[in-house]
């Protein structure tokens, strides 16, 4: 049964414009970040590390939260349309399966996005003619930590998109959350703020091996927030009459 639900999610993703976002949106900061790095090479001496911050600084705070907000809103879009909740709830499928399928789908899409960001970074470095060896292990570390931090935003946005029956409003909240995340990181409270965890994981401010807030707090708050929003979603799915909310 679960695989059928997964297959349904795959079918919904097929030919969706979300793939346009997947390809095009990460390309914009990559191209513009590379051009900015190219123009300021006399100031930016740390080659791959500086190129990385140029690629990720703005995108982690302002655009990746929006992109993830769009992914999550798109996943609930069909269920929210017209009277589809009636149809969904009368099918012999537990709502838990439905939610799990969406969570796995968004996790996979985010993982692919991270790989795409990594490939763009590598390609940009080659184009810039960087002579230092490519920091492969560091990049994998940054991307994986970014994926974990991004999953916190995804779980939160999946909850918001389930709760708020509008496509656009959760995306607006994601944007404001991303900007507030920048302020939280600047004040040193980044680990406590769900929208800031992705930028901390990606080392958007300084491309170091170590996490700015420490590994244990990062892992603790990432997992705790995920569990919290997961619990809220499960409670919401079981307590609220979804069909009557239409």
């Amino acid at each position: 049964m679960f695989w059928n639900v997964m297959e349904a999610e795959r079918l919904k993703a097929h030919n969706s414009p979300v793939w346009f976002a997947f390809f095009v949106l990460p390309m914009i900061p990559a191209v513009l970040g590379t051009l900015n790095y190219w123009n300021n090479q006399d100031l930016l001496q740390n080659q791959w590390q500086d190129l990385w911050t140029q690629h990720t600084l703005f995108s982690c705070y302002f655009f990746l939260p929006v992109l993830l907000g769009v992914y999550c809103a798109w996943l609930w879009r069909l269920e929210h349309q017209q009277h589809n909740w009636n149809l969904v709830l009368t099918m012999p499928v537990p709502v838990g399966y439905l939610y799990s399928a969406k969570l796995i789908t968004v996790a996979v899409v985010l993982f692919l996005t991270q790989i795409w960001i990594g490939l763009l970074f590598f390609g940009s470095g080659l184009l810039c003619g960087l002579t230092a060896p490519f920091p492969l292990l560091d990049v994998i570390n940054w991307l994986l930590c970014g994926w974990l931090g991004g999953m916190v935003i995804c779980v939160l946005q999946l909850f918001l998109s389930l709760w708020i029956r509008s496509f656009a409003l959760p995306v607006g909240i994601a944007l404001l959350g991303g900007v507030a995340g920048l302020a939280a990181v600047a004040k040193g409270w980044g680990a406590y703020f769900p929208y800031a965890l992705m930028s901390i994981g990606m080392r958007a401010n300084t491309a170091d091996s170590a996490l700015s807030c420490g590994t244990v707090p990062f892992l603790f708050f990432s997992i705790s927030y995920m569990l919290l929003f997961l619990l809220l979603t499960i409670l919401y799915l079981h307590q609220v009459d979804l069909a009557a909310k239409e």
Binding site: P17, A21, F62, G172, L176
Partner: protein, 251 residues
């Protein structure tokens, strides 16, 4: 027309337009407060110029996506239950477009009034040097209003034409990207062709940063009226083309 606008206000009750703009204003206000909290003497002297340098950057990041969200909320109500088909039998498409445009414009006026109030409150509290540059503030408000209203119009048209609201929102996000990064490319002619870059095109303040002393010096820039009139012409043209296309569109 008045009835159509009143109807828009009635339809949008509880759709959180005001709340969204209030949140935006709070984020911008908090950002400015945090930035201006520990200013040097030189920065306080140039405080008003710092404002008019930082606010367009914040607007370029936040407002395109916010306008996409607002336009999507305004248009989505008609898509739900395929209301457009019925609506067009009693209300011309152009009238619907204009009423939604004016509705968005009203909230934009409120947002800019809030921005002005925030600027004045923080500026007077911090004791910025010199008289308030009302002329530049007026130009800033006018330019920001026209740029943002134009973005809202484009997003509204996209949201009315395309049922799947994913695409207009992606355009808004991509526009935010272009707006932010246009700060690095504002001197090139091609940036004149991209609507979202006008936040940086119509800057009223410039910044000189001395690499050796690390001192920032702000200076006034004369308003770029040619750019503004080009934008206004584009705005009017978009209304006419959008109106025509909307009238021809099959529901």
């Amino acid at each position: 027309m008045v009835q159509a606008i009143r109807l828009e206000f009635f339809k949008m009750r509880g759709r959180c337009f005001g709340l969204l703009l209030l949140l935006c204003l709070l984020v911008q206000g908090a950002w400015l407060w945090w930035t201006f909290k520990s200013m040097s003497h030189l920065e306080i002297i140039q405080g008003w110029q710092h404002y008019l340098y930082q606010l367009p950057v914040l607007n370029a990041i936040l407002l395109p996506v916010l306008m996409a969200v607002m336009a999507s909320r305004a248009a989505d109500i008609e898509h739900k239950g395929t209301m457009l088909r019925q609506l067009y039998t009693i209300q011309p498409a152009g009238k619907l477009l204009l009423s939604k445009l004016l509705y968005g414009g009203w909230y934009l006026v409120l947002l800019l009034a809030g921005q002005l109030l925030t600027m004045l409150l923080i500026g007077l509290y911090k004791g910025f040097y010199g008289p308030i540059p009302w002329g530049y503030f007026g130009c800033y408000l006018l330019f920001t209003f026209v740029i943002t209203w134009c973005i809202y119009l484009v997003q509204l048209l996209l949201s009315l034409f395309i049922t799947n609201q994913l695409i207009p929102l992606l355009v808004g996000a991509a526009g935010s990207f272009c707006g932010l990064f246009s700060l690095f490319f504002q001197q090139y002619w091609f940036s004149r062709l991209i609507l979202w870059t006008y936040y940086s095109q119509l800057f009223l303040c410039g910044m000189n940063w001395d690499k050796e002393t690390r001192i920032t010096e702000m200076y006034w820039i004369q308003p770029d009226w040619a750019g503004f009139f080009l934008l206004t012409a584009g705005f009017l043209l978009t209304i006419v083309v959008g109106w025509r296309l909307l009238e021809r569109k099959e529901c």
